[in-house]
């Protein structure tokens, strides 16, 4: 479910790319420093995006340093350090990864998620205490999600709601949300991000879910009945694309209302191009007419 929010690298300027990577490395370093080396493996691009977005909305003056890290022992890399927002993004990277492991354990069982959860247990407890309010909302939403899955919900909007609300909560970074306008815009970005991720993931997993007889809202909404999977995908593609693009458009509209001072080009690149590219790749539309 994670890692869909990526930049469109070929359209980036090198300085933008470097800065984006500095955020990415900053999140990674922050995880390692504050939680541990193992937790580093949970790193994903979405948290880097969150850090860039919140940092821009806050107008934060960042401190970029050249440092060494374990993953790249030879060359020093730029990374952002000492930023409260980067720390926040890294905390939620770990938290969400833990919740997603829990979800995996419930769905598929198996040894890997359980052992990973055991390792993360202590860090998870610590973070849960730190973000008690947000965590209780996240857990409530995840619970709703499980209920909807059990009830075989046949509406993608309804099925996507808990995850969208969950992402809304993560994006609404406390210190920034004291301003009502920023709070509104950030929450709407988060909501639509969650929605986009959920529906994109549903389409991406369609084949696997049909094969494994797992729940997938698209199967029920468009009444899949043992026909050819490719044909089914062709039938629903336009509808799914409409919904995904609509969410992206809403993200862009809310973003335009945020008074962003820094990182504007990076964020525009991701919102207008990176995420559209990902959508088209997974849907199998656009210039490379092949499904990823």
């Amino acid at each position: 479910m994670f890692g869909y929010i990526v930049p469109e690298k070929p359209e980036m300027k090198i300085k933008e790319y470097e800065l984006f990577r500095a955020y990415y490395c900053g999140v990674c370093k922050s995880i390692a420093k504050r939680h541990g080396q193992f937790e580093r493996f949970l790193l994903n691009y979405d948290s880097a995006f969150l850090a860039v977005l919140l940092s821009a909305a806050a107008g934060e003056i960042v401190n970029v340093q050249r440092m060494r890290c374990i993953a790249h022992p030879v060359e020093k890399r730029h990374m952002i350090s000492g930023s409260g927002i980067v720390d926040y993004a890294s905390d939620f990277n770990v938290l969400l990864a833990y919740y997603s492991l829990e979800d995996k354990r419930r769905d598929d069982g198996g040894f890997v998620p359980i052992s990973a959860m055991l390792v993360l247990r202590k860090v998870f407890r610590k973070l849960k205490r730190k973000y008690a309010d947000k965590c209780s909302i996240i857990e409530m939403r995840l619970n709703e999600l499980v209920q909807l899955e059990k009830a075989k919900c046949a509406s993608m909007d309804m099925a996507a709601e808990p995850f969208a609300k969950l992402m809304e909560e993560v994006t609404a970074y406390g210190p920034l949300c004291k301003s009502e306008n920023v709070d509104k815009a950030l929450r709407w970005i988060g909501y639509n991000l969650g929605k986009w991720i959920y529906i994109l993931d549903a389409f991406d997993d369609l084949e696997k879910d049909i094969k494994d007889k797992n729940y997938n809202p698209l199967i029920y909404q468009y009444k899949y009945s043992n026909t050819d999977i490719i044909e089914f995908k062709n039938e629903i593609r336009d509808k799914v694309e409409f919904n995904l693009t609509y969410s992206l458009n809403e993200i862009s509209r809310a973003f335009e209302l945020l008074d962003v001072k820094a990182n504007k080009e990076i964020l525009e690149n991701i919102i207008y191009m990176g995420m559209l590219r990902k959508t088209e790749k997974i849907l199998g539309t656009g210039s490379c007419n092949k499904v990823e």
């Binding site: 509406s155 709601e161 815009a185 409409f242 609509y246 209302l257 207008y272």
Partner: protein
């Protein structure tokens, strides 16, 4: 008031034409039509007001020469023609629901609709608008589509449906203007070119990529 140049996203001291162009672009971007049925419409309104003020200020206080005052604020006529159903018996009811939606009281509007058994075209249309505000685009589209099917002659319903489809085009146009899929080779073509030039090299005795 914020720095008017910053508000319009331009450098200080640019020419009047550039100010006008920036202003036109900004108005287009934050026009109420762009944010209709959107929970952030109030924010967009504020932003537009700020832009109008900044533009007014710059036009009234140009750096070297005085300019005739700019009159009227653009972005006006997006008024909601809430007449729609005045001829019908329950027109009053639906108008009420609609005004609740417009004032942001979506919960109340929804409760009112749910309490009504009158599943006519305006019911589906208003339900669609509520879904839109909540972010349920699929349901919104389906409901408004139902309204259009039930009452194909209603301009307002068709308009709302058209707006939903158009908004996706607006996003794509924006992506394109930023360089997405614009001219230039995409990755597939680039691979092809590389492969072709490699074949040519091989004919000539050299080899660029050893594996093919």
């Amino acid at each position: 008031m914020n720095n008017p140049y910053e508000v319009l996203g331009i450098k200080e001291g640019v020419s009047e034409d550039e100010i006008k162009k920036a202003y036109r672009d900004m108005v287009k971007k934050y026009h109420p039509d762009q944010y209709q049925d959107n929970p952030l419409s109030k924010l967009a309104e504020e932003k537009l007001k700020e832009i109008n003020e900044a533009y007014d200020y710059l036009m009234k206080n140009p750096s070297p020469k005085r300019q005739t005052a700019y009159n009227g604020n653009s972005g006006g006529n997006s008024g909601n023609n809430a007449k729609g159903w005045s001829g019908q018996a329950d027109g009053e009811f639906f108008n009420q629901v609609k005004s609740h939606i417009n004032s942001g009281n979506v919960k109340l509007a929804e409760d009112m609709l749910e309490g009504s058994n009158n599943r006519t075209a305006p019911w589906y249309y208003l339900k669609g608008l509520i879904f839109m505000r909540r972010g349920w685009y699929d349901e919104a589209y389906n409901h408004i589509q139902t309204a259009v099917n039930m009452d194909p002659s209603n301009y307002e319903y068709r308009n709302a449906l058209g707006r939903m489809s158009n908004s996706n085009n607006a996003y794509r146009t924006n992506s394109f203007n930023r360089g997405y899929n614009k001219g230039g080779p995409d990755l597939c073509t680039m691979c092809q070119c590389l492969y072709c030039s490699d074949c040519c090299c091989e004919c000539g005795g050299g080899d660029l990529i050893s594996c093919c």
